[in-house]
Symmetry: C2
Subunit: 438 residues, 2 copies
């Protein structure tokens, strides 16, 4: 089906979402790409495909049928076609929009290619990647989009780039918020909370305005728990439980360290919870974790190691990696983001669970409400999750959970001006950034 | 099954390959890892798992059953277990060894995680990664191995790192030769040929000595065609047709540019050949390529563009990317390496083909024998390939093929001292490095 068969209003770049939804029932996907200043006064943002203006080679088919598209839309991700008409693609699911911030950074440089390859959402799920960058990174974003073009991923049907979150988050079903400012020299955690909090407040507002009403948001940029809290507070029309702060890399590292100590392969470690904040107060839980189905403490008899060394090994892993490798752990971070997404879109194996930093309201563990806290979750594979029942606590675990909870409550007071809860009061007890965190 | 049940000779680190083969019929995989100077006098190399000595946590099971392993073998990739005993893994294929050179570089940083994830060799193929680096990059290699640990890939069963190709290539079924020296300021192509040729001569000798007799070798480090020729000439006991020079990124880029020009999605472009050298003399073949099953020239009527602009667009893509992105195209290069491997281990779709730089002996196209030249290939998915029959030529295509052939013959004369064919005579007509090539 060609665009020319649709009414002219459908050929405009800006479609109302109900129109889009209608359109998507007729066309399996509809390309929207432009390289021009947008009418919205708020910013001088551009949305574009990955080809610079001097490289434009107007699509022949579109040129013949819809001259209006010619000037606005170009590039290989900018074509109109009917997936339902092709044998190979007619049984594919409906295209989903995935927004990624910090898209020119190293974590994204791994993640985007994983998303596009189909290994995350499956071989019948076409995707659109919406890349959010900054003015400084805009050229790099074009480079990323060009590399995505050259990779010929069959499932990747649209790539657009922008510095405007209101454009990027339009109809997003996933928002992977990786971009955050790094801490400058001498900056305290409070300063970083404020600096990045402002970014996540704006992104929350943008998600609230334009994203899918059931968008799933994974916050990776640090400090990620409180960034996620700020983000969800600024998006009151999106369910708070849809927001996640990434603690999956911590979970993966904790599993690896337990495996190493026990002398088993890492696939034998299950039921690993990271409790609390993605900071040095995080609590990797060796009380509930299992090795070959047995409680960790029955397999690892060196309880002194568990209590005194294990947590530090997990936390310091990022710092050790920077020493060795000279840069942050972008590859394994992107693997853990993939793991976090997969845990939401595939059913959790019977008896197991995964960790995610989620909104605490309604949690059965007695954690303070109204913060984002990493806890054990299970999913039916529908994108949603539920809290795990039947976890156990002892004094050691409770004491540490209380400490990380106190830190998150302090961080919350520190960003009250960004969550709409009054005047900030910053009394963070100590600096608890993880070594090597970005 | 525990190692203790085997005869003591099997617990040594250095096993004869026939022993290994026998062992692999009993144990699904057998870990070999040590962190110590090797007895071989040739170098002071070490093979190790990814955990530094001060992090060693002796595997409990191994400690109990085989004290000898305790001192040599550690880390999560260094365990003895029986894949056949576990429900999840009992139907897996036999573990394969994959060697990667330049393993601390950016291309490898993408590629290794793709290999480990199972997306290349499939969900039932356990793999061992053997990482080859330099003394300078050894710490970075440890960092890479740590990130691989933290990624918890179920199929990744062994990681070892070394600066000695004789260690890394031992029993390799795949050798992905990515590492090469970049060209220094003012260095001519002839200088680069000599500098890198020496590396590939040594690696060829090492492959000849220790790799699987049916190892498949993909040379990525540039100048890759002549490096591949040097490598195969130094490995007389391995079939010459097992050596490939990577031209798949050129093929992918050519498909993308034709798609852009034709206004179709890139999955509609097929039968794309890159002929000749991975240099600016390469010939992206628009005579035989097809769009939606039709000859390109019937779809793209702008033949002037095809003859005068298309080839340059393909060749300059790497340079444009560097301008945009500030670094080489590591991500899309690694995707094209995956494509190249997949093309050998899955049957080529009916009527289509792929390009690879392969040994010319026996080619049906009249290309000079005894060089490595990119040509159209098909595979039954058994790791092997055959030349495609029925491609057509016209004067334009033949003229360009002759030019790239002349260049490769000149490069061959230039490295005669490295292929055992006498005294080098270097009369390269011009400098034809691709913009942006590493």
């Amino acid at each position: 089906m060609a665009v020319a068969e649709l009414s002219p209003s459908f050929t405009k770049t800006h479609l109302h979402s109900s129109q889009l939804s209608f359109l998507s029932t007729r066309l399996a996907s509809f390309r929207r790409c432009a390289f021009r200043p947008l009418p919205r006064a708020r910013s001088a943002t551009t949305i574009s495909c990955s080809v610079a203006p001097n490289q434009v080679q107007a699509p022949v088919a579109v040129q013949a049928e819809d001259p209006k598209n010619k000037t606005e839309c170009f590039g290989v991700f900018c074509l109109t076609y009917d997936l339902k008409a092709e044998e190979e693609t007619k049984n594919w699911k409906k295209l989903i929009n995935i927004a990624v911030s910090g898209a020119a950074g190293m974590i994204s440089n791994h993640l985007l290619f994983k998303l596009a390859s189909g290994e995350v959402f499956g071989p019948d799920q076409p995707i659109a990647l919406k890349l959010l960058g900054s003015e400084r990174s805009f050229q790099a974003l074009e480079g990323v989009a060009m590399e995505l073009e050259d990779s010929l991923f069959p499932l990747l049907r649209e790539v657009s780039i922008s510095i405007d979150p209101y454009e990027v988050f339009q109809d997003s079903e996933w928002a992977l918020l990786i971009g955050a400012k790094p801490r400058g020299p001498g900056m305290e955690r409070a300063g970083l909370l404020d600096l990045n909090g402002q970014i996540f407040a704006e992104q929350g507002k943008a998600l609230n305005a334009v994203a899918s009403r059931n968008v799933k948001v994974i916050v990776v940029g640090n400090p990620c728990n409180t960034n996620a809290l700020i983000c969800l507070k600024n998006a009151p029309n999106i369910p708070a439980k849809n927001f996640h702060a990434l603690t999956r890399l911590d979970e993966n590292r904790a599993k690896c360290q337990l495996a190493l100590k026990a002398g088993v392969f890492y696939d034998q470690v299950s039921n690993m919870t990271i409790w609390g904040n993605h900071s040095t107060t995080q609590v990797p839980d060796f009380l509930n974790a299992r090795i070959n189905g047995l409680p960790v403490k029955e397999v690892i008899k060196d309880h002194k190691w568990l209590e005194e060394e294990f947590t530090e090994k997990v936390q310091k892993r990022g710092g050790v990696l920077i020493e060795k490798w000279g840069r942050s752990s972008a590859a394994s971070t992107s693997v853990s983001i993939v793991d976090a997404i997969r845990s939401l879109v595939t059913p959790t194996p019977e008896g197991d669970w995964f960790s995610s930093g989620v909104y605490t309201n309604g949690n059965p563990y007695g954690i303070a409400e109204d913060i984002v806290f990493s806890m054990p979750c299970r999913s039916k594979g529908d994108g949603d999750y539920e809290f795990v029942k039947g976890v156990i606590f002892d004094d050691y675990l409770l004491k540490r959970i209380t400490k990380t909870e106190a830190e998150l409550l302090a961080e919350k007071r520190c960003v009250a001006h960004l969550t709409g809860e009054g005047i900030a009061f910053c009394d963070l007890p100590e600096d608890t950034m993880l070594p090597g965190e970005m």
